[in-house]
């Protein structure tokens, strides 16, 4: 199978030979932008359908299985329904902020696509502060949520937005500290360096105890950050109507909905990159033959497999655990996750200094 790197280099060469440098770069940016939007659309379709099927099977029922072949066209039908719905703006809502909020959340999701390496050589922007960029940009999504809650002019939306804001801001601490424990091992914030350092094994295996603790804390923290699973008090459907996106309907609601699912994909991609090696196949130390066999599976298959495995894990959480009350949620973060992640950082540092890792 022709490697994706060859395809991108071929496109790059042919563009550079036909046009000038600047024009070629602009065209490449256009292509990448269209691919990103296309990826969003496909991800939205696939993830919503996956969620419905996974949730159904865990609740011993069938999911959507009538629309299209085995229900595959269900999300397309849902998207069509959302698009033709009336997008109602409440009279007393703050028009500018109300309309801006879904776009802000969407923009954050798109910006976070930039550092992710989807396959060998398929990365939009390999910057030397990759992990810091991810951490920083994901904090900006809080603004979108607070904006949505405030601009709705609805006290339930505001309460939902406040709770969501507090939750996201708190859990970012644990997520950041968890990632930092892994950066202690990798020594670099650059995502491509992190992936290449996992050539002889994924960090979750090489960094034994602190890596496993860090992974568990990270998964819990990002589940809370994306307002998901047992931490979805902000949009607890039956308790606060729909939280901060109560007043949104039609296309704007579709954007929030899509942004939520794309965020899940992004955080799982990051977890897959830092803990499970991104597109790096499963190598064991210096078992050359085994590693060589593993290399035959294309890197994009490895990346997709790992990411969707983690997405399945997060969906598993949603349909197993009861919802946490907002005080229990914050309690969990400040009293349990944060001290444990700080201790884990200390442990990781000690182990890294003493060299007790693979």
């Amino acid at each position: 199978m022709p490697s994706l790197e060859n395809l991108t280099h071929f496109i790059d060469r042919s563009l550079n030979s036909h046009f000038g440098d600047t024009t070629a770069m602009l065209i490449e940016m256009l292509i990448v932008g269209i691919c990103a939007i296309g990826l969003f659309a496909v991800l939205g379709l696939v993830l919503v359908f996956m969620e419905r099927k996974v949730s159904a099977y865990m609740q011993i029922r069938l999911g959507p299985n009538r629309v299209g072949y085995k229900g595959l066209a269900q999300t397309a039908a849902d998207t069509l329904k959302l698009v033709i719905k009336e997008g109602l703006t409440p009279d007393t809502a703050d028009k500018f902020l109300f309309n801006l909020a879904p776009f802000l959340v969407m923009i954050v999701a798109m910006l976070l696509l930039a550092p992710i390496a989807f396959a060998r050589g398929l990365q939009m922007w390999d910057m030397n502060i990759g992990v810091l960029y991810i951490s920083a940009i994901s904090s900006v999504s809080v603004i979108g949520i607070l904006m949505a809650g405030w601009a709705s002019n609805n006290k339930y939306s505001l309460i939902g937005a406040m709770r969501s804001g507090a939750q996201i801001v708190s859990y970012e601490l644990s997520a950041g500290l968890a990632v930092l424990s892994m950066i202690v091992f990798t020594g670099s914030l650059q995502l491509s360096t992190i992936i290449h350092s996992q050539q002889d094994g994924w960090w979750i295996f090489k960094g034994h105890i602190p890596a496993v603790i860090s992974f568990i804390i990270f998964i819990i923290a990002v589940t809370a950050e994306t307002n998901r699973a047992p931490f979805d008090m902000a949009e607890a459907e039956s308790e606060l109507t729909a939280g901060f996106h109560t007043e949104y309907s039609g296309m704007r609601f579709a954007l929030f909905f899509l942004a939520e699912y794309v965020n899940i994909f992004i955080v799982c991609a990051i977890a897959a990159t830092i803990y499970f090696g991104g597109w790096m196949p499963f190598h064991i130390g210096n078992w050359q033959a085994f590693n060589h066999v593993m290399d035959f599976i294309p890197s994009v298959v490895w990346f997709t497999g790992k990411t969707f495995g983690l997405i399945f894990l997060i969906m598993w959480f949603r349909w197993t655990f009861p919802r946490l009350r907002v005080d229990q949620l914050l309690n969990l973060e400040w009293k349990y996750l944060l001290p444990i992640s700080m201790f884990n950082l200390l442990l990781a540092t000690v182990i890294a200094i003493m060299g007790w890792y693979f």
């Binding site: 099977y57 011993i60 029922r61 598993w316 197993t320 655990f321």
Partner: protein, 156 residues
């Protein structure tokens, strides 16, 4: 000690979460457990005592057991049944009351089973059909005794 309790809390919490996940994981990996019945494709298996609609049993020679005693009409709580009787001349020459038409309004029936319990001759029973939707309302007013049927011998 605080630290011991803390570690115990974390450990117990963690193991209980894993127990929960094992249960849902079991359901996910065993699709045989799915209890959804795909209705139009799968033939529905109903129990013996399912109450669908009221029908009158007829034998192969088109005979029924209804004597026209109107016990079911009296037992029905919302006037779903209307018995129309006629007078038959028996071979002895005497006039005997017999059933002319058994009018049954399916649109009013609550399937409460009281008419079946009231019938002294086991003439009517509950059928197992449940798809009663029609486009024309007049189809819901049914005549339960088949045309040309008469009372079976030996039923008092």
């Amino acid at each position: 000690m605080f630290i011991v309790d803390y570690i115990k809390t974390v450990y117990n919490g963690f193991t209980s979460l894993l127990k929960g996940m094992r249960m849902t994981g079991y359901y996910f990996t065993h699709p045989k457990e799915i209890i959804t019945q795909q209705y139009p494709d799968v033939k529905q298996v109903l129990s013996e005592r399912f109450r669908g609609e009221v029908v009158m049993t007829h034998t192969e020679s088109n005979e029924h057991r209804c004597t026209g005693c109107t016990a079911c009409e009296l037992a029905c709580p919302n006037a779903t049944i209307k018995i129309v009787t006629k007078f038959d001349i028996t071979p002895d020459g005497k006039k005997k009351k017999a059933l002319d038409t058994f009018v049954y309004h399916l649109e009013l029936c609550t399937m409460c089973n009281l008419c079946i319990q009231a019938c002294p001759t086991d003439a009517i029973k509950m059928a197992q059909s449940f798809e009663h939707s029609v486009y024309d309302r007049s189809l819901l007013t049914k005549k339960l005794n088949k045309p040309g049927s008469k009372l079976m011998e030996g039923v008092e």
